[in-house]
Amino acid sequence: MQVFKAFLRVLRSKFGSAVIYIALFALVGIIMTKSDTSQTVWEKAAMAVVINDLDNSVESRALAECISRGNKVVAPFDNEDDLTDAMYYGRVDFALTIPEGFGARISAGETDGLLSSYYIHESYSMENLKMLLDKFVTTYTAYRALGQDSDAAAKATDEALSKEVEVTIASRVEEEKDNEGLLIFFRYLPYILMCVIMNTLCPALTAMNKKDVRFRTDCSGIRPSSYTMQVFSASALFVGLIWLAFVILGVVLNGALYSGRLWLVVLNSLLFALFASVLAMFASEFSPSGTIVNILTQVSSLGMCFLCGVFVGQELLGSGVLAVARFLPAYWYIRIIRMLNGEIPFTASEAAIALGIQAAFVAMFVLLTLLVRRTRYAGVATHRTAEA
């Protein structure tokens, strides 16, 4: 156990910077998971709308009627400056001009450039209002195309648009909504796992693998298999404790133990912690300096997290970026998170593939580490080679 204990002491000496990472991440995690997510749910708001009807036809009046339902119609202003001031100070949200000939053009089946509008601030309600205008035009022209006259078509359009349909998002069940904060915590976990494990494990392994120290160890009575096993055990203990600390933090932030599909996120994080460990082992084979380890950590963690959708959602990344990201384990880690968050459909086979690919990355780096080690120690005696 001598190597095991010494390696833990070496790890402890390298742990200082990792504590800062963990503390900051815990703090950010608490803030993020405890923030009120209900504010992000959109509710339709009444808009102050100025309607300047220059057409005064059946169609224009029907449109004005439609808009006035759920919004506040403000009387038109005498001049444009007053309107601009009112919009600037938020007394008016939207100004609509229905030009002369609107009724005739829409009745003729025209749909483009029928209306002119003016607004300053963008919002979801503003988008909703613009959609209402588009829907009025398409619905009215549809009724006219069916052979109805102006009055009947206007009435039918008004009735159709007055109906509100209650929508339930089928893929986002209540459980997922409750775990949203926890999933945000786990979404950012790859970055912190990479930073903590790489910054601690890599320099510790490098110290133990230092050529002269290794020579002295090889001269001793300890068997190489015992040495390797002790270093491996100490590394596994360290990585396990770090991972467990984050899993427990997740429980604390969640306020409840993991259940159901949430165990997948735990397994997912374990695989990623293993990946960070084998990457640290692989890098340590090249005996990098402290500065190089730091650069390597930042490049690999930040690069992977930006490319794979940890910091920026995968849905916002270009197809080219995602094509590259598929060759990185963080991409598959985030896919599991997205499945559990209801962003993409969850299937057991897809989840198994994502986990399997991460496991394959771990296996690949273990093999690469062994290969590099074999090459580096090619000149060192491991068996008797002298001729008889």
């Binding site: 002295r216 090889d218 001269c219 001793s220 005696a381 068996h383």
Partner: protein
């Protein structure tokens, strides 16, 4: 007759085209302080690495304590202490933790190890620095820590590969005295160096190496007896007529005379009154002279005479 501790027979080690060890043989008896002397690149460290099974070799046999030495001879390795040329300690551990770690690779019993670690700390005089990390130690103290890590488990065979490189004279003396003390306590020592003074000072038997071959072996007196030179006389003199130089070179036992305009160097083989006879010639010619030195041959002279190159030149 004392038993053989190390026996190297006909060892050949090649690095591609370069022959690092060329049919090198050696036998070291129990209780010796055996010096391996030679310039850098002569094959000393390669010999040690092969002896410790850290390197493969192309031909030959190595026996330690009468048994064949292989990479898996863990029992044999447990009886050997190694102090490498470079300081091999963990910068992240304190002095005590380092000694305890390396001692623990050999001694598993905790109580026994604790006593051994304390003894090693006392032996190298690091009592006041036990909680220091290596980065806080001076070069000399660091070398002492390096030695403590290698000898804490009380090995029967201690191998020191140039342990005094870049060490101040005070620490060097402390290290050399320590090696002699370890030997008095019963350890057989193999000491490699290119500092001939050190080897002369502590080694009971010496092998001189050059280009992977052993060129001479014996006690320091035996080695010096192998060469023609027995005394070198140097005289500071600003004027030396050719006639006087001729007379000196024809004196009994004088075999070489050199004069560079400031100093006369006369090499003699055997004889007892060489200095008196040389000074007699100078007085007879009424020549004034400055400081006079008479030096007995060194291992450098042995190396010079055998290889045609001085040790100090060869190591550059």
């Amino acid at each position: 007759m004392k038993p053989t501790v190390v026996k190297i027979d006909n060892l050949v080690k090649r690095y591609g085209e370069l022959v690092a060890l060329d049919h090198f043989s050696l036998e070291i008896k129990e209780g010796e302080i055996f010096g391996l002397l030679g310039p850098n690149g002569s094959g000393k460290t390669t010999t040690i690495n092969c002896l410790l099974s850290l390197l493969t070799f192309d031909k030959g046999d190595i026996e330690v304590f009468g048994q064949e030495m292989t990479p898996t001879s863990y029992d044999l390795k447990s009886e050997i202490g190694v102090i490498m040329q470079n300081v091999a300690v963990l910068d992240e551990l304190t002095v005590r933790e380092n000694i305890d770690y390396f001692c623990g690779l050999y001694v598993t019993d905790k109580a026994k190890r604790k006593a051994l670690v304390e003894e090693a700390i006392r032996f190298v005089g690091l009592e006041d620095f036990v909680n220091f990390r290596p980065g806080k130690l001076s070069g000399g103290l660091l070398r002492r820590l390096n030695i403590a890590c290698g000898i804490a488990h009380k090995p029967k065979l201690i191998i020191l590969d140039e342990p005094t490189v870049a060490v101040d004279p005070q620490s060097r003396n402390k290290i050399l005295e320590g090696i002699q003390e370890l030997n008095r306590q019963g350890a057989t020592v193999i000491y490699t160096s290119h500092y001939m003074e050190e080897v002369e000072q502590i080694c009971t038997r010496i092998a001189i190496m050059d280009k992977g071959r052993k060129i001479a072996e014996g006690t320091k007196d035996e080695l010096k007896g192998m060469i023609r030179n027995s005394e070198t006389v140097s005289i500071e003199i600003l004027e030396l007529p050719e006639e006087a130089k001729e007379k000196i070179s024809h004196l009994p036992h004088v075999y070489e005379t050199e004069y560079d305009g400031e100093k006369l160097t006369v090499r003699c083989s055997g004889g007892r009154h060489n200095l008196i006879r040389i000074l007699g010639v100078l007085q007879e010619a009424e020549l004034g002279f400055g400081r006079v030195y008479s030096e007995l041959p060194t291992l450098n002279d042995v190396f010079l005479e055998i290889t045609g190159t001085a040790l100090r030149d060869a190591k550059e």
